[in-house]
């Protein structure tokens, strides 16, 4: 006689209850959207009312050649979607994260080209490129600047590891970001382009690469940004005739405020907080905050160094994994330093420049930073430079931008489009 399978029937009843909860929540959410409007509309209203100093900087995530990411619109959409997650869905996400981290699935995100080391340091693999496009564009750009008598230097900013074989040893994958950077830097120097490779500088200074970056984000830390700013100021002196007091970038001249376990970086968000862990965040402000005129969408305003920093980003009580990127609490702004009387610098940068341009602003009269991937196809870079009257142009790129052009869909594909 076949036994009555009561456990199976109980499972069926639980399934019915589960379906009922899911359906009820979906109906409730749909009704809410219908009568109240979406959370996204509300969010857009808030964005419109924010202060002028919240620059429209494009959020750059990884320079992935597979490029579904790194689109600010997608990033905002993701944030809005996250806010709509039901408690049940949030619980699901947390559950999945936990199981995967317990199983130590460090390569689970291969499709995102991301891997987690044993100490929860997220790294990414990058494909090989010839660097022909990047080299040609930089050379054409240099020719233009030389004709106009404008100083030019290229700054190579490192990624989270200095040795490509590191990824091969750890995960059995090939990555070429350092090889690509070596190739481009060598070609640029050979062609007479003044090139600062920050990888060389950090080795000289005895720094450990893993200490310079966030564990869960592809960006370098604020402290690293300050260090890099000092190195960039050095080349402004050596190559561009500036006389910057480099002690300006010594840590003694700054106040440090650290928020521990404050956020999950963009890489961490993609793979889930349980697997990724969290990062600390340090706000760095000069003791002498100076006096600036900032230029925003709604016109100029006067403020000290704090005009670069959006401290409202620190007012947050929600789950750490949902917090927006703290890296962007420093803004890239056009700024005139009222206390310095010479130097007009344009940084053609990327999101790493959020934590270099503000510090460099202390050393020059006027500084501006643009990110080419956020500019339309009709943007005239050369005219912009001429109109701005800059005496120095720096390209400060994370080396992960090298090769992005090989994939037209990559959000960073236009970063080396300098010939315009």
């Amino acid at each position: 006689m076949q036994l009555n399978n009561y456990p199976k029937k109980i499972l069926a009843l639980l399934f019915i209850c589960f379906m009922a909860v899911l359906l009820s929540y979906e109906l409730y959410r749909s009704a809410g959207r219908l009568f109240k409007g979406t959370g996204q509309d509300h969010q857009e209203e808030n964005s419109g009312g924010e202060e002028e100093k919240k620059e429209e900087t494009e959020e750059e995530t990884d320079a992935s050649p597979d490029a579904a990411e790194a689109d600010p619109a997608a990033s905002e959409e993701a944030s809005a979607q996250e806010e709509e997650l039901s408690p049940l869905e949030q619980a699901m996400l947390a559950f999945g994260d936990t199981v995967q981290s317990r199983l130590d699935m460090r390569g689970f995100y291969y499709e995102l080209h991301m891997f987690i080391t044993e100490d929860q340091y997220i790294v990414k693999a990058y494909p090989e490129t010839t660097t022909d496009y990047e080299f040609d564009q930089v050379m054409l750009f240099k020719e233009f600047l030389d004709r106009e008598g404008i100083h030019f230097a290229y700054v190579n900013q490192p990624t989270k590891y200095l040795d490509d074989t590191y990824m091969t040893r750890m995960f059995g994958v090939y990555t070429y970001t350092n090889a690509n950077a070596d190739r481009l830097v060598s070609r640029l120097r050979g062609a007479g382009v003044r090139t600062l490779d920050l990888r060389e500088e950090l080795v000289k200074d005895g720094l450990e690469i893993t200490d310079l970056f966030y564990r869960t984000d592809h960006h370098w830390t604020t402290r690293t940004g300050l260090w890099a700013s000092g190195k960039i100021a050095g080349i402004l002196n050596d190559w561009c005739g500036y006389s910057i007091d480099l002690s300006l970038f010594d840590e003694d001249h700054y106040d440090f405020t650290t928020f521990e376990n404050a956020w999950v970086g963009e890489q961490g968000k993609k793979i889930g907080a349980s697997s990724a862990g969290t990062d600390d965040y340090t706000e760095i402000c000069p003791k002498d905050k100076g006096q600036y005129t900032f230029y925003g969408k709604n016109g100029p305003w006067q403020e000290d160094f704090m005009g670069f920093i959006n401290e409202s980003a620190y007012d947050y009580d929600g789950p750490v994994e949902k917090r927006k990127s703290l890296h962007y609490s420093y803004n890239m702004l056009r700024a005139v330093n009222e206390k310095v009387d010479r130097g007009k610098v344009l940084i053609i940068g990327d999101s790493f420049s959020h934590v270099t341009e503000p510090f460099l602003s202390q050393a020059v009269h006027e500084i501006d930073a643009i990110v080419l991937r956020g500019k339309g196809d009709d943007f005239g870079l050369r005219q912009y430079i001429l109109d701005g009257g800059y005496d120095t142009v720096l390209i400060c790129y994370a080396q992960t931008n090298i090769g992005a052009h090989d994939n037209p869909k990559d959000a960073n594909a236009k970063m080396f489009w300098l010939d315009r």
Binding site: P7, L11, A12, E26, M92, G96, F108, G172
Partner: protein
């Protein structure tokens, strides 16, 4: 719309289950027919008219045949229906491939236009053919207003990927026992698809995406085995979900998989893998051609060739599917000619033959996944090229380390441990209930885990092909 999508789980399925509870059999069938058409529209609205047209033609022909006394007219009607169904299938499934062939593209003027494949066309067309054939043979008689017949052809749990149920077995028999069995099957199938198939797909995606010259022996075997498991769990998982949903709606559904990797021979493999397709070809191609009950061995082989050619091209229009079908023709023909494995008396040789069968099945799945015949050949060659490449060896070890739980789980559940154990303890009440409780708890756990991955994939705009 896929059974593993959030919108299906949170809205469509609950709504369908509620709809299936309306009183009155005819009303229920009408509601389910509407639900099925909505399901189809959500997945493939542009081809809904084709589905409706196909259903209408087959229903009309079926009814005309059923009421026809004259055999000649019935035969003409049946032939007409068969030609209609085959032409529709051939047009959508094979014309784009034929148009892409260099020597035909100019003739056919295909240009860059691709004809999209209507959702489920292979399945509902085969169901339609079996419907007409069974009416022609007098095995079934269409009854009522035709709603049930239309529902049979459009039934949403089965329309995308089967199983190929028969009209004669398509009878509503709702009960809570059936519903609870359906729930279990659905959750099991969901976990198989999301937790095993989709995770194994990450491994096979990476391995099959590598240039063939960078694939060493370990990498190749890992890819081949993982793909064999991925395909099994993907298809059987989907079948389990289809069977589960059908049962929840009150319609028992035939089994489609029976632990195929346990097969002792190639013939047995195809009695365990995609069972309803094998049965369809047996009943509607092989047996009508004479099957094995023909006078000459040559005729028998030709019948087998016909079945396996059709099986190959049913799976896809590329050369790789044709080669795959022909390979099975050769293997099965050899078995029949040599009387294998029945003639093997030694247990050791039987075991070796079983292992040989499994290895060949794994190898023969390679053309399915390979992007081209040359890649497939290169890949299989790599499976037997000793002397590994260092980097690939490191990667293969890393993949094993990262995914060992899933690979082990996939291998474990490809054996019938659970049903065997259930059968063994079925007479011992306390043990049975304890076992079932643990099994149901694990099922729920894996279902929730799978659901978390679906949620993760749905709300991660940065993920590609994620679940």
């Amino acid at each position: 719309m896929s059974f593993t999508e959030l919108s299906f789980l949170t809205i469509f399925l609950p709504a369908a289950l509620i709809g299936s509870r309306v009183p009155g059999k005819q009303v229920r069938e009408t509601v389910l027919l509407l639900v099925s058409l909505i399901f189809y529209s959500l997945g493939c609205l542009s081809f809904l008219p084709l589905l409706l047209f196909s259903v209408a033609v087959n229903l009309l022909l079926g009814r005309a045949m059923a009421g026809m006394e004259k055999k000649r007219t019935r035969t003409l009607l049946f032939a007409g229906g068969l030609v209609f169904d085959v032409l529709v299938l051939a047009f959508f499934k094979y014309l784009p491939y034929l148009a892409g062939l260099p020597f035909l593209s100019g003739l056919m003027g295909a240009g860059d236009q691709a004809v999209l494949l209507p959702l489920g066309i292979s399945f509902y067309t085969f169901k339609a053919i079996s419907y007409l054939a069974d009416i022609y043979r007098g095995r079934i008689t269409p009854q009522g207003t035709g709603i049930r017949d239309a529902l049979y052809l459009c039934f949403f749990p089965q329309i995308q990927s089967g199983p190929l149920a028969r009209y004669g077995d398509f009878e509503s028999a709702p009960s809570f026992d059936l519903f609870s069995e359906g729930t279990y099957r659905f959750m099991t199938g969901f976990a198989k698809k999301v937790l095993l198939a989709d995770v194994l797909a990450k491994i096979t995606g990476e391995i099959y995406g590598s240039p063939v010259e960078r694939i060493g022996i370990r990498f190749a075997w890992l890819g081949a085995v993982c793909y064999a498991l991925q395909l099994y769990y993907d298809f059987s998982g989907y079948s389990d979900m289809a069977i589960g949903i059908s049962a929840m709606l009150g319609y028992p559904c035939p089994e489609n998989f029976r632990y195929p990797y346990m097969a002792a021979s190639f013939s047995e493999f195809w009695r365990r893998w995609h069972i309803t397709l094998g049965a369809w070809f047996r009943d509607y191609v092989y047996i009508p051609l004479g099957g094995s009950r023909v006078k000459s061995r040559k005729r028998h082989l030709l019948n087998l060739l016909a079945v396996w050619l059709l099986t190959g091209i049913w799976h896809g229009s590329g050369w790789n599917f044709l080669i795959w079908g022909l390979s099975y023709f050769l293997l099965i023909s050899a078995e029949k000619l040599l009387g294998l494995p029945g003639r093997i008396k030694s247990r050791l040789l039987c075991l070796l033959y079983r292992i040989f069968t499994l290895v060949m099945v794994v190898i023969l799945w390679v053309p399915f996944r390979a992007g081209s015949p040359s890649f497939a050949l290169g890949f299989v060659h790599r499976m037997f090229s000793f002397g590994s490449l260092q980097q690939e060896e490191a990667r293969a070890l890393f993949l094993l380390k990262d995914y060992w739980v899933f690979i082990l789980g996939a291998v474990f559940f490809s054996f019938p441990f659970v049903p065997l154990l259930e059968k063994k303890i079925s007479s011992r009440k306390a043990v049975f209930y304890l076992f079932e409780t643990v099994l149901m708890a694990l099922t729920a756990f894996f279902f929730v885990w799978g659901l978390s991955l679906v949620v993760q994939g749905a709300y991660n705009p940065f993920a590609y092909a994620n679940f």
